[in-house]
Structures are given as structure tokens and as C-alpha cells.
């Protein structure tokens, strides 16, 4: 007998992976390839991809990402996805006729999911089944629970009612030749309260073809509940698999340990390496072409396909072409603003509940015998690090070990703050300092390859605490806030998002894993030890979780700064930064707010001042007009730390400028009389 299948559902909107809530809110999680590769690493039983795009065109080109995403249509994207999917792949969305089914199958889908069109034109089911076999026709049914207790089928992403009952419709689609039914609850979507058992059972009991239940999973126990209370052949979920490390394996183990056998879990498959295997030859070619363009001062490559020009959020000052994945709602407001108002709306009582949740997690993982620390806090020595340590040790009473990646770019003030932590908190502190010769190479390579000299810093910060955690058997690593969630609103506060390899590789490392640098400037595997992430088996064995403190306690950077200054002698510099009006951030790295951030301006046409002003608009302490003035004052400034950096890596300013120019996004910048120009905000 076939095992019950556990199926991740991935929603695609305009080429990107999104999180859905109530069928209306869609927050961008990231670009698809990293997620799909990861799900394949995890050996998922099957994968359902649903395309909810509004147009057939998308544009995800970014010069500084390793995966280049040159495609602009869903079908092209599907072909790319199919090449890294060695599990059954069902693909749905905007299927209007038999030829659409054929296109999707030819691009690599094994099954096609049909929803709205099946209701409008049921013949598509029988025609599709006749042409390609029932086994590849999945009919998806979205049902809403009505006030009178009945259910009704809705189409067009839950917007249009049909008058059909899910049971009658399911019976009909079976007769028409559908091979499987995917039943989804609109009410439960994205809430994390569990499946609608009644709905799923009513459908599963009325047909004899396999049924996949979907909608509402927030915790692993919900899977077990569905297996216990329904007769479905498969259970599916979306959001949960985006937000927790090894969530698929952990969900399965929960089911297996509760007495529901499933296909065994996969960890560190020798067939599917977690670390990308790069096409060395092609990558070297791209690198050389860039240096070649730079030496001839040619700037960026031209964009040969159509594109949408940059636009700005109407509430904050964020542009659509952004370092973080962005999406805008119908009023032109970005998801970061939308999510931040959600955060402001969380009442004090809710924060009390969240605090209790955090204590439960920490208590469960506290060292019982004194053989290790209770948890690790990843610290840079900045205001947030101080706040985290203050909260975990002095408010909650746990004994943390502090872990720091030392990228050799500390400001004097930042360094004093860092070294003072062991004193003011009386905690153990491991500072991992890679050799400076290696760091110089990585600075240069990061700049030349992805326009980011601080790549080593991002990957180092993301790796060291997790690696030490597995080595020392400490199951909890505490991080501060989830940057992208805060900036671009990638998730809801109810997701309790945790640290994952996928986020590390995709967002912090831009798709460049440690092994990318092998053999460049004679770098060896041994040289890169600091940047090698623990294996999935090690993470699984340790039960390692990286949690974000911002999910459990109210996170307001300005308040933290004041608290740690008063209580722990945290120093802020007396000087101001070149590129932003705030002076309390990024003291751990003089280039982070300087030349690293200047590269963001070069690439995308905005910088740290835009980030800070956006945060302050959202915190309600700055108007959009004031913000625009500041952005115009700071974003373009070429910072003074460039001098140190050029000397550090032995590069001339001319060479720097010419390489930097190759990263300019042609959708943002244009050349006029030898000068680069961009559109000001809102023009």
C-alpha cells in the first residue's frame, strides 16, 4: 500500500515564491530555485507548484545573484524548476485549455492542476484525461465555509462563488476523469490553526480517486491530526515548509512517531548535495567578462528584454527594484509597510503570550547537567546584541554562550562594545577570527563577483554560531530580528519564522556558497572552514533551531539603543556616518554602512538612508517628505572608508569605480554625457 504522501505546496507569483493568507495577502519569500533545490534535498514525496501570477511576464534579473533568472515566463521557469526536481511535480495555475496542459507537461510537470477553468469549462477535465491520461489531471477545489454551515466552491483565487458544493463538484470531476483532487480550505489558508477536517472528510468519503487535503497547517501536530481523523491519501501544506529548518523531516518524524508510517526521511543524500555544484568554467567566464568590461569602462550589460521601470512604495521610500524581495498591493503599498502595521497592532497581552512561548522553548533546551551553555546568542557587539544578551540572561535567567564572527573591519567603538560584553554580562564569549590574508582575498573576490566586499561577513555571521552549536551540542541559537521580514514583510508575525539554510544561501549569500570560492586566488577547502555550514544530519541530530528574538518580544531598535547605553555602557560614536543620519547601527563593520552600502546605491539606486528612513516612517517617527529629503542628502554619497578598503585589498579607485559600474542595474540607471543618472523618487 502506498504511504500517505506529505506534500509541500509552493505558490508562485510573477516568478517569485510567495506566502499566502486568506487568498488575498501574498508576501514574497524569494526566488524559486533555492527553495525547490532545498525541497529536493529534503526528498519530499511530491511537490505542488501553483502559479497565481497576474501576468505572464516577470523579471527577476539581478547582476549580483548567482542564479541569473534570465527567463521571463512561467513556462520557462517551470523548465528550470523541473531540472532540479527528482520527485513528482504537479503544476497549476492559469490552465485554460488542453494546449496549456500540454505546455506544462512538456516543460517537465508530471501532473497539471486545474481549478477555475474546470468549473467554467468542465470539458477540459475529460479532454485532458483523454489526451494525457487521468493520472496527470489534478482538480483543485477551493472551498469556503458558509455561515449556514455549508461549504461552497469558489474560483479565481477565492474571489468568485460558483454555487457548487465541494462534494457534488468532487463527484462530478471524478466522473469526468480527474485522477486526483486537491481540496483546500479558503478560511483556514495561512492561519496555522489546522486543517478543516470536516471539509476534507466530506470530499474524501464521496470519491474513490486519491484526495489531497490542504490549508491551515501551522504546526507539525496538524499533520498527525489529519492522518488520524481523515481518510485522505495525501496531506499538503505551504507556509510551514518555508519557515523552519528541516521542517519536512521533522513533520514526517512527528507522523511516524505517532504511529503513521510514511516513506523514510532523507538527510544529506549523496545524490543531491545541499551545497550548489557550480559550473566552474561558466562562472569563471562570467567573472572574466565582468573584469574585461570594467577594464574597458563599459559599465553594465544592456537589458535586451522588456522590463518594468522602478516604482516606489506610496507609504515608505522603498523602490520596487530592491535588495530584498518586494511586492506591492493594489494600493501601491509594499508588504513591509503592511506587515509593520500588523506588528504595531499586536497587543501587550499577546507579547506576554509570546514571552511565555520563548521561555518554554528555552526551558525545554536548557542544559540539564551543566555540560554546555543553555543557548548560543549570535552577537556582533552592537545594540541588538546587547539587548539580546540582556534579555536572555538578565530578564529570563538563562546562561548563553556568545559567538561572534570577526570580519576584521570593526570600528574602534564597535570593538570596545564587543569586548565589553563578557564583562558587563559576565558570560563566555567565543570570537572566531579568520586569517586576514584570506579575508583580503574574500573582500576582493566578493566585490568582483557579486559587487559585495562583505560577502565573507554575511556568510561568516550566518555560519559560525550554527556550526559551533552543532559542535558543542547546543540546540538553540538566538538571532535578533529577521532582516528581510522587517524590511520587505516576507512573513506574518504568526509564522514564528526560524533560521534556515535556504535563507542563508539565498538571501545572505546571494546564492554563493563557500565552495564557490575554491581555487580562486588559490583558496583551498581548508581555508574556508569558517564558512562551512553544519550538515543536515548534524543539525537534525542536535535538534538545532535558530530562533529570532523579534518574534517573541517587541523589537524597537531606538528603544534598545537607549536601554543598553544606560544599563551596560554601550557606546555610540561621537561622529556621524557618511551615508545615513542614524549613528547607532553596524559598528561591527566600518564598510557595512560605507562602501558596502555604497555598492547598493550603485547597483539599485538606493542605500542605507532609505532603509533607515523606511524604518522610521513605519515606526511613526518620520514623515515621507522628511524621509525623501534625507534620502536625497545621503543615498548617493561616496563614503570615506573607501580609502581604507582600497588599501586593504590593494586596488585603485579607478579600478573600483569601473568594476562597480558593471553592477549598475540598467532598469535603474542610464548614461547621459558620461554620467550615470537615475529617476528621483516618485518622478
Amino acid at each position: 500500500m502506498a504511504y500517505p504522501r506529505l506534500i509541500p505546496v509552493v505558490l508562485l507569483k510573477n516568478g517569485q515564491i510567495v506566502r499566502s493568507q486568506g487568498f488575498t495577502t501574498h508576501q514574497v519569500i524569494g526566488n524559486p530555485i533555492h527553495t525547490i533545490r532545498r525541497l529536493n534535498n529534503w526528498g519530499v514525496d511530491e511537490l505542488i507548484l501553483l502559479d497565481i501570477s497576474t501576468t505572464d511576464f516577470h523579471d527577476m534579473r539581478r547582476e549580483d545573484l548567482q542564479v541569473k533568472y534570465s527567463e521571463t515566463s512561467t513556462i520557462e521557469l517551470l523548465s528550470m524548476i523541473a531540472k532540479v526536481s527528482f520527485m513528482p511535480l504537479a503544476f497549476g495555475g492559469r490552465v485554460l485549455n488542453v494546449s496549456d496542459i500540454k505546455d506544462r507537461l512538456s516543460a517537465g510537470a508530471d501532473k497539471v492542476v486545474i481549478n477555475s477553468e474546470a468549473v467554467r469549462n468542465p470539458k477540459i477535465i475529460s479532454d485532458g484525461a483523454y489526451e494525457f491520461g487521468s493520472q496527470c489531471i489534478v482538480v483543485s477545489i477551493d472551498a469556503l465555509h458558509l455561515e449556514n454551515g455549508n461549504y461552497e466552491v469558489y474560483i479565481e483565487g477565492g474571489k468568485i462563488k460558483t454555487g457548487l458544493s465541494p462534494v457534488d463538484w468532487a463527484i462530478q470531476v471524478e466522473k469526468l476523469g480527474a485522477g486526483e483532487i486537491l481540496i483546500n480550505s479558503i478560511d483556514q489558508d495561512g492561519l496555522g490553526n489546522g486543517y478543516d477536517i470536516e471539509l476534507i472528510n466530506s470530499v474524501a468519503d464521496s470519491v474513490s480517486i486519491p484526495v489531497i487535503g490542504c490549508g491551515g497547517v501551522g504546526q507539525y501536530e496538524h499533520f498527525t491530526e489529519a492522518l488520524q481523523k481523515t481518510s485522505v491519501d495525501a496531506i499538503a501544506a505551504a507556509n510551514i515548509f518555508n519557515y523552519y529548518e528541516l521542517s519536512y523531516q521533522n513533520a514526517k518524524m512527528k507522523c511516524i512517531n505517532s504511529g503513521y508510517p510514511m516513506r523514510p526521511i532523507v538527510l544529506d543524500s549523496p545524490w543531491f548535495k545541499r551545497e550548489p555544484e557550480y559550473d566552474k568554467e561558466n562562472e569563471a567566464k562570467i567573472h572574466n567578462e565582468r573584469l574585461n568590461r570594467a577594464s574597458k569602462k563599459l559599465g553594465p550589460k544592456k537589458v535586451d528584454k522588456k522590463f518594468e521601470p522602478v516604482r516606489w512604495c506610496t507609504k515608505c521610500v522603498y523602490p520596487s527594484i530592491n535588495a530584498a524581495p518586494m511586492s506591492f498591493d493594489e494600493e501601491g503599498v509594499c508588504m513591509g509597510c503592511r506587515m509593520s502595521s500588523n506588528k504595531v497592532d499586536i497587543p501587550e497581552s499577546e507579547w506576554d503570550t509570546r514571552k511565555k512561548m520563548l521561555i518554554d522553548i528555552l526551558e525545554e533546551n536548557r542544559s540539564k547537567d551543566g555540560s554546555r551553555a543553555d543557548c548560543i546568542i549570535a552577537v556582533s557587539g552592537g545594540k541588538d546584541s546587547h539587548f539580546q544578551t540582556h534579555y536572555i540572561k538578565n530578564v529570563l535567567g538563562f546562561n548563553p554562550l556568545l559567538v561572534t564572527y570577526y570580519g576584521n573591519n570593526y570600528s574602534e567603538v564597535g570593538q570596545r562594545n564587543l569586548l565589553r560584553m563578557k564583562e558587563v554580562f559576565d558570560v563566555d564569549h567565543i570570537i572566531y577570527q579568520p586569517g586576514v590574508g584570506l579575508l583580503k582575498k574574500l573582500n576582493r573576490l566578493g566585490f568582483e563577483i557579486m559587487g559585495d566586499m562583505n560577502w565573507h561577513n554575511h556568510i561568516g555571521i550566518c555560519t559560525t554560531p550554527m556550526k559551533l552549536a552543532t559542535q558543542l551540542g547546543i540546540p538553540i541559537v538566538i538571532w535578533g530580528e529577521h532582516g528581510y521580514g522587517d524590511l520587505s514583510g516576507q512573513f506574518s508575525m504568526n509564522d514564528y519564522i526560524e533560521w534556515t539554510y535556504r535563507t542563508r544561501l539565498e538571501h545572505y549569500c546571494r546564492g554563493y556558497e563557500w565552495n564557490y570560492m575554491l581555487e580562486k586566488m588559490e583558496i583551498t577547502s581548508q581555508d574556508m572552514l569558517a564558512f562551512k555550514y553544519p550538515s543536515d544530519s548534524e543539525i537534525f541530530k542536535t535538534g538545532l533551531r535558530g530562533i529570532h528574538l523579534s518574534n517573541y518580544t517587541k523589537w524597537e531598535a531606538n528603544d534598545h539603543s537607549q536601554l543598553v547605553r544606560e544599563k551596560y555602557g554601550f557606546e555610540v560614536p561621537s561622529y556621524s556616518f557618511d551615508r545615513t543620519y542614524r549613528n547607532m547601527s553596524n559598528l561591527d563593520d566600518i564598510h557595512e554602512n560605507g562602501v558596502h552600502d555604497y555598492m547598493k546605491w550603485i547597483k539599485l539606486g538606493y542605500g542605507r538612508c532609505t532603509d533607515h528612513a523606511t524604518k522610521d516612517i513605519r515606526a511613526g517617527i518620520m514623515s515621507r517628505e522628511e524621509a525623501i529629503k534625507l534620502v536625497e542628502k545621503y543615498d548617493h554619497v561616496k563614503p570615506s572608508d573607501l580609502t581604507r578598503w582600497l588599501k586593504y585589498v590593494d586596488m585603485s579607485e579607478e579600478e573600483f569605480d569601473s568594476i562597480a559600474d558593471t553592477f549598475r542595474d540598467p532598469r535603474v540607471w542610464h548614461l547621459e554625457n558620461g554620467q550615470w543618472f537615475k529617476k528621483p523618487i516618485n518622478e
Binding site: Y3, G108, F132
Partner: protein
């Protein structure tokens, strides 16, 4: 070593091609008689109805080439899903149809007489390996493969059965072999690491 993947044009074989390329196999996707004649190994994939599959081979005039590859030259051939069923003598799907008759047996519809079983049989099933062969070892720990089928290969000679799954109280053959002729009911190309391992075994078969 040349490995030909038969492309009858009736089903989507993108996944099979992706998987074979991923494991580094040099393959030739073809419906050309001459190319099949030259092949050292043949893979016969397929999804869809039996008669459509067999007729496609007939229309493209490939039946005798495949038979001679398997029976006269005795070179390795692997049928996948419908491709395995086509190796049979006949099938009851859509009336009585004759097959390639490379392994004696009849393709019959899956019978459900127990609660909890549905047709098509979709999903991951653990395969009981009755004896080791060139594709898989009896001692294999993870022998889970992705199945999606409504019919199965009822082998006349139980000697040819390598692996079975339990379905509604019956043992259903899902890996069969008669000398150089092999078939799998499931989709190795969609069966993650266990599937790639099996395909890799096939492409590495030596001595033919």
C-alpha cells in the same frame, strides 16, 4: 556505450531525460530505427494507455528493432511504467491488445477488494525485493519508489519477478527481469535517490 531512450511522442519524457542527464548518462533520445539498431542499451519510458503506446511503436516501425535488440542481440533494455507493461504478451486495457511479448504475462487492472485502496495507485510504495538483480540489491535499505498506475504486469513465470508491492492483499510485481530484459512499474526518474540509484545501476550494467 550508447544508450537510446525511445521517444514515441505519446508521453512526456522530459523527467526521464532530466534524471538520466543528472546522473551523467550520455543518452540519445530517438524514434529512429537506425539509431535504435546501434544502441547498446534501450530505455523504453512511457505514460498513458497500453494501446496508444503499442500503436506508437508500431506506427514508427520500431517493434521489430526493439525485439531484436532484446531477444536476438540480447542487449539490456529497461521498460519504465507503461514501458514495462509493453514488454508483456498482452493487456486487457481498453480491450485485448498484444504487446512486445518479451516477458510472458498479462497486463491487468488493479483489483480493489479491501478498504483503503484506491485506483490509480498513486504514491510511494516500499518494494519487497525477492532477489537481487542488476538493478537492485536484496539488502537495499531504502526501497521506496513512486508509483502511479491503474494496471499491473501479471507475470506468467514467477521466476521473472524481482520485486513486489502489497496492494489490496495481493503481491503486485513492480520489478521484473528475464535475463537482459528488465521492467519497473514505478517511476525511478521521480523516485529521488532510490530511483537515481536504480537508473545508475542500469546505465552501468557491463558485459553486454
Amino acid at each position: 556505450m550508447s544508450i537510446a531512450v525511445v521517444n514515441t511522442g505519446i508521453s512526456n519524457i522530459a523527467s526521464v531525460i532530466n534524471a538520466l542527464k543528472y546522473i551523467g548518462a550520455k543518452i540519445n533520445v530517438t524514434d529512429d530505427r537506425e539509431e535504435l539498431l546501434r544502441a547498446d542499451k534501450i530505455i523504453l519510458p512511457g505514460v498513458g494507455s497500453f494501446s496508444a503506446g503499442y500503436n506508437a511503436l508500431k506506427d514508427k516501425n520500431l517493434v521489430d528493432v526493439i525485439k531484436s535488440h532484446a531477444q536476438i542481440k540480447q542487449k539490456p533494455i529497461l521498460g519504465i511504467c507503461l514501458g514495462m507493461q509493453l514488454l508483456a504478451s498482452q493487456s486487457e486495457e481498453g480491450g485485448d491488445n498484444i504487446g512486445l511479448d518479451l516477458i510472458a504475462g498479462n497486463v491487468e487492472r488493479l483489483k480493489v477488494d479491501m478498504e483503503g485502496f484506491r485506483v490509480p495507485n498513486i504514491g510511494w510504495c516500499e518494494v519487497d525485493i525477492l532477489k537481487s538483480n542488476m538493478l537492485i540489491s536484496k539488502d537495499k535499505i531504502n526501497s521506496n519508489f513512486y508509483h502511479i498506475h491503474s494496471y499491473y504486469f501479471n507475470c506468467t513465470d514467477t521466476e521473472n519477478i524481482i520485486g513486489t508491492i502489497k496492494f489490496s492483499g495481493n503481491d503486485i510485481p513492480v520489478i521484473i527481469q528475464k535475463d537482459n530484459i528488465m521492467g519497473v512499474q514505478f517511476h525511478p526518474e521521480k523516485s529521488h535517490e532510490s530511483g537515481l540509484e536504480l537508473l545508475n545501476q542500469f546505465i552501468n550494467i557491463k558485459g553486454y
